[in-house]
């Protein structure tokens, strides 16, 4: 893309894809102004995530358990077809009537037929995402049946006429006083806003419903092929009554839930409990094999009929897709929701349809269509934290990018997304025209124009652009011979802040390296965010081809921008799936981690501590989190004598690369809302300034907090007396 045509083209681009975005913006606006809900969701998701990490570390075998669960899920999905067949044959021999439903309609029709044949009136239900997928309650109520939810959270929502906003905690967005108001209104009595009192009333009223119900319908967490049984996990124990009291019981199960053996099922169950509710085990796990009145004598309280509805609805097709298959590994534990920066601000009624949160985007796309997914897919900022939190290690960000790509193909691209996908061309243009471009970008009339025409928020501060690039500076350096090393500089250290490039250069040459700068483009990450995958692939291929000859010789490739290192090491090979991209990945390093290994080659550390006093706060960017479990930055600065504080925060600063550049509710407003938590946690540490290795986090924190943000390499090169 030639830079000078860039702005013009994005202005002229038809206003496609705008409908979904306008609707979304409206819903985002409502959610962001709902302070009570924001606090409720943020508190609850943080709480569960924290507890879940505690429980992982409390049990010595949890690493192995999670590894086993990943293996089991992968095996189950590869053997999906045979598992389904085995389950059906075994369940039928147990006396279960199995119905394999190809579509949602097939499943609903079958359930209606069973209810009609057995003259049922009242149905009691457990919480089930698969039933939500069928919109079963609506269909059954349309057909004249009374359906009562028995899970407390689901019952609250049913009374309120709302949909679940979280995969595990459906009423996470409500406070106890709101729940009390819902109960009071529905029951016509005054209910106090205390969880214990509300629960007592729910127990009492629902107990009568249970005793009178004709049919019980549940979902299932797993189904076991070897003995044709259904496994259900709860804490409340409602499922134990749903499956035992009514004479007819129907389990609705997605086919991806079938595993081979009881042993596998119990392993997955533990992984699920630890991730979903931060419990080693929930209170109840029930394994149900079939009707138990086969003696022929109809005893009271015995199930006469047991049905299993196995739902396909796109699953078997996804299982054949080499890329999308991994979506079926999902345990519905909700971990990705609990860490998703934008989900935590807007909640699941905006960030989701039936399936909520990050994994909700691919799941919605294949269970309800791409149109439904398009309604909330733009809320993903590609921070990648969901992948890190996923116990099944599903590459959720890449699935989302693929969904976005399909949406763009069918509905067109938003001009601002198209523009930002070509961000590097824009940066090059700004660099070439600096310092005029800098003046222009701080001119309010120009910014107003840029907002109106392209859609870049006028409040977002741009970094300064430099006419003298790092590339240009590097060309003039006369390097002594040394060990060859390639620097993948990316746009920021090249065109915005060449000091970082120079600091890197000085440290590396001091360690005996000769720094090479082969032809390269920016990482291409902005294109990923907006589903412009062909553009990203082109960039990835260019960079891989250019770096390959060096990688083949074992010459290290070092990147200072964590996003660039992430692209080289993780994203390119995942996207291109070529041997070349894997070779480059193997030889690519993030600079701080690389430096940690070089530490002994650097000047004596005793010199360092005298230069720095005071306290700094260290923000670890999302893509650094993706590369390491033990982050190198803070340790290096401590070695250099700095007092480093780590804010109590695991996640995204909110800028999401270029997402926070977009105007208003399309990006900037959400981005700043997400950032608030980090800004507060940084303030808690009362630092002199902030340190982070990411250029975009720097932009966000400087704007949101008003504190100076430095790059660790600037500090380190100074500490070593190299500048």
């Amino acid at each position: 893309m030639r830079s000078h045509t860039l702005i013009l083209k994005s202005i002229m681009l038809r206003k496609s894809g705008r409908i979904h975005h306008d609707l979304l913006a409206k819903r985002v606006e409502e959610a962001l102004s709902n302070q009570i809900q924001r606090r409720a969701v943020l508190t609850a998701t943080r709480h569960v995530r924290r507890k879940s990490l505690e429980i992982y570390s409390k049990f010595s075998d949890s690493e192995k358990l999670l590894a086993d669960s990943r293996r089991i899920k992968r095996e189950s999905i590869s053997n999906l077809r045979s598992n389904v067949a085995r389950f059906i044959s075994k369940a039928e021999s147990n006396g279960i009537t199995v119905y394999a439903a190809r579509t949602k309609k097939d499943a609903v029709d079958y359930i209606v037929r069973v209810l009609t044949r057995t003259n049922a009136q009242t149905v009691v239900k457990t919480k089930s995402m698969t039933c939500e997928e069928l919109e079963l309650n609506q269909h059954l109520s349309d057909a004249g049946f009374t359906v009562i939810e028995t899970d407390l959270g689901e019952r609250i929502l049913q009374m309120a006429g709302q949909k679940p906003s979280h995969l595990v905690a459906p009423a996470v967005h409500l406070t106890s006083s709101q729940v009390a108001a819902i109960f009071s209104k529905s029951l016509g009595v005054e209910v106090p806003g205390v969880a214990e009192e509300i629960t007592k009333i729910a127990r009492k009223t629902l107990r009568q419903v249970f005793l009178a119900a004709d049919v019980g319908i549940s979902g299932a967490n797993l189904a076991i092929a070897e003995d044709g049984s259904v496994l259900i996990v709860t804490n409340e124990g409602n499922e134990r009554l749903v499956t035992s009291l009514p004479a007819v019981y129907i389990a609705v199960i997605g086919i991806e839930k079938i595993v081979s053996s009881l042993s596998d099922a119990l392993k997955l169950t533990q992984a699920l409990c630890m991730s979903a509710t931060a419990q080693r085990m929930t209170s109840y796990i029930s394994i149900i094999k079939g009707p138990n009145d086969r003696t022929g004598i109809s005893l009271p309280g015995e199930r006469h009929e047991t049905h299993v509805v196995l739902l396909d609805n796109g699953r078997s097709e996804i299982a054949e897709d080499e890329f999308f298959r991994q979506a079926l590994y999902c345990l519905k534990c909700g971990s990705c929701l609990n860490v998703c920066p934008t989900y935590r601000e807007v909640g699941g009624h905006v960030f989701g349809s039936t399936y909520t949160g990050p994994i909700g985007i691919p799941w919605t796309s294949f269970t309800s269509g791409y149109g439904a997914a398009a309604e909330f897919a733009p809320l993903c900022v590609s921070c990648g934290i969901c992948k890190l939190a996923c116990p099944e290690d599903i590459n959720i960000p890449i699935l989302i990018a693929k969904v976005k790509e399909t949406i763009v193909k069918s509905e067109g691209q938003l001009p601002v997304n198209w523009f930002l996908s070509h961000y590097e061309s824009f940066v090059r243009l700004m660099s070439r025209t600096a310092p005029i471009s800098n003046r222009l970008l701080s001119n309010s009339t120009f910014r107003w124009l840029l907002e109106k025409t392209v859609g870049i928020d006028r409040r977002r501060r741009f970094p300064k652009f430099e006419r003298k690039t790092f590339e240009g500076w590097h060309r003039k350096q006369k390097q002594r011979d040394g060990t060859d090393l390639v620097y993948f500089v990316d746009t920021y250290a090249n065109l915005n802040n060449s000091e970082i490039g120079k600091a890197t250069f000085s440290i590396l040459t001091r360690c005996g390296y000769k720094v090479l700068l082969p032809p390269q483009r920016g990482s291409g990450m902005p294109a990923f965010l907006y589903g412009e995958l062909p553009l990203l692939k082109e960039t990835a291929e260019f960079n891989v081809n250019s770096l390959l000859p060096y990688a083949r010789q074992g010459i290290p490739i070092v990147a200072t921008e964590p996003t660039a290192a992430f692209c080289l090491r993780e994203l390119y090979p995942e996207l291109l799936r070529t041997e070349d991209s894997r070779t480059v990945a193997k030889n690519s390093y993030e600079m701080l981690g690389f430096l940690r290994d070089l530490w002994d080659k650097l000047p004596p550390k005793t010199e360092l501590s005298r230069k720095f006093t005071g306290k700094v706060a260290y923000h670890t960017p999302c893509h650094t989190r993706a590369l390491y479990t033990n982050f190198p930055g803070p340790a290096l600065l401590r070695e250099a004598g700095l007092q480093v504080e780590i804010p109590d925060f695991e996640g995204c600063c909110g800028i999401g690369g270029t997402y926070g550049y977009k105007k208003g509710l399309d990006g900037f407003d959400v981005s700043m809302a997400v950032g608030e938590e980090l800004f507060d946690r940084i303030r808690d540490t009362k630092p002199e300034y902030v340190v982070t290795e990411s250029s975009v986090c720097k932009i966000q924190i400087e704007q949101g907090l008003g504190l100076k943000v430095k790059h660790p390499l600037e500090i380190l090169s100074e500490a070593f007396g190299l500048r």
């Binding site: 569960v48 003995d227 409340e236 035992s244 392993k267 085990m281 209170s283 109840y284 029930s286």
Partner: protein, 140 residues
Amino acid sequence: VIAGTLTNQVQIESALSAEQVEVRLTSDLKSPDAVKRVEAADLGITDALVGVAETGTVILVTERELDRLASALPPNHIVLLERGQMIGSMDEVAAFIGRSIQESNYTVSVITGPSSTADIEETLVRGVHGPHSLYVVIIG
């Protein structure tokens, strides 16, 4: 209400009756109001097939729903567990119970605590639809 075979062996029924407690055995309940009688009980006593040391779990295996309901409907639940029926971890469960549940449509209830919820503002509340208290008595 009392269910299970181990409960017979330790003669709980006669001991409780001596204390003027109204006792019902699920095996005796055959009238249409059987479920209501289990529901009316203040306490359910059942046995467990096996206990899991690492997680403090008891595993009940029932064929008749009334036996399962004895652990699900009353507000209190006591589980009797033989000391010899103890395994170390969940990993051993499948091998231990796998064979014993093959012959019939047994329902396996893996229980690791009283009925509870955190659906309202993450506040832990006990006794939602099942017992609010659970006691395990280890015998032998």
